[in-house]
């Protein structure tokens, strides 16, 4: 299931990018070096970090999208750079755990 499809069904707001990548797994962590070494290609990555460095990490790991949970806002320069790099960022008021559980249930058809 694509990022866009999951976003529409769970009410996640797409802030940047087109959301056309397939979600292949889930990963939640804010320590960037930890994410680099443990997240996998195609993961939906959840982090409350909203600085520019998350884009380099997302690009290096090649995640399908970044989800900023708990209503944390992102700044205009981050949004611009994400669009330039064609990285999809979503936001939600849900917690990281709730988002992953709901997205996982949706994708696995529960």
């Amino acid at each position: 299931m694509t990022v866009k499809e999951v976003a529409e069904k769970l009410g996640l707001k797409i802030l940047t990018g087109n959301g056309e990548r397939e979600i292949k797994g889930f990963y939640a962590c804010d320590l960037l070096s930890w994410v680099i070494s443990h997240a996998r290609t195609g993961d939906m990555w959840l982090t409350v970090m909203n600085n520019i460095n998350i884009l380099a990490v997302a690009s290096l790991v090649d995640v399908s999208c970044i989800v900023i949970p708990e209503g944390v806002e992102i700044y205009e320069n981050l949004a611009q750079r994400a669009n330039d790099k064609e990285i999809t960022i979503l936001s939600t008021d849900m917690s990281a755990a709730d988002t992953i559980i709901k997205a996982h249930d949706l994708i696995s058809g529960k």
Partner: protein
């Protein structure tokens, strides 16, 4: 075989963190263009990003020299920072001297050097206190 060697040079700017990752992203693009195995590209770019971030965090930036041959990718990142007093200790996962500001940005987990080792086939750290640090990262394309 010299015509099969690609050499790249980057200045790692330490002004802020917003451009950190430009060098490793550039290398990733070049390796992709050369048709290198995606797993090799991922290993090189992750290890190089960590070294690049380290140069920004600890040493006010530095330089990166990259050599790509059909056999391997060699990345050398040099800085004129404070040096590492105890390299063995710095290689310990979780050990970090990063400032709180750096930690608030999501770095400083003490995973940089361990990640570099994990993702490379060979890694060398040469460091002298008060002079600087040179990290050499080698990833084999043909094993």
């Amino acid at each position: 075989m010299s015509d099969n060697v690609v050499k790249l040079h980057y200045d790692i700017d330490a002004e802020d963190f917003t451009t950190a990752g430009e060098a490793s992203s550039g290398v990733k693009k070049t390796l992709t263009r050369l048709g290198v195995n995606p797993e090799v590209i991922k290993r090189v770019s992750i290890a190089m990003y960590e070294a690049e971030i380290n140069a920004v965090i600890h040493a006010n930036g530095g330089v990166a020299d990259v050599e790509i041959t059909p056999e391997r990718v060699t990345v050398v990142i040099s800085d004129r920072g404070p040096g590492i007093p105890n390299v063995d200790k710095a290689m310990t996962p979780g050990w970090s001297t990063a400032s709180n500001t750096v930690r608030e940005l999501g770095f400083g987990a003490g995973m940089g050097l361990p990640n570099m080792k994990r993702y490379t086939d060979e890694m060398y750290v040469e460091s002298e206190v008060g002079v600087g640090t040179k990290v050499t990262l080698i990833v084999n394309i043909v094993s």
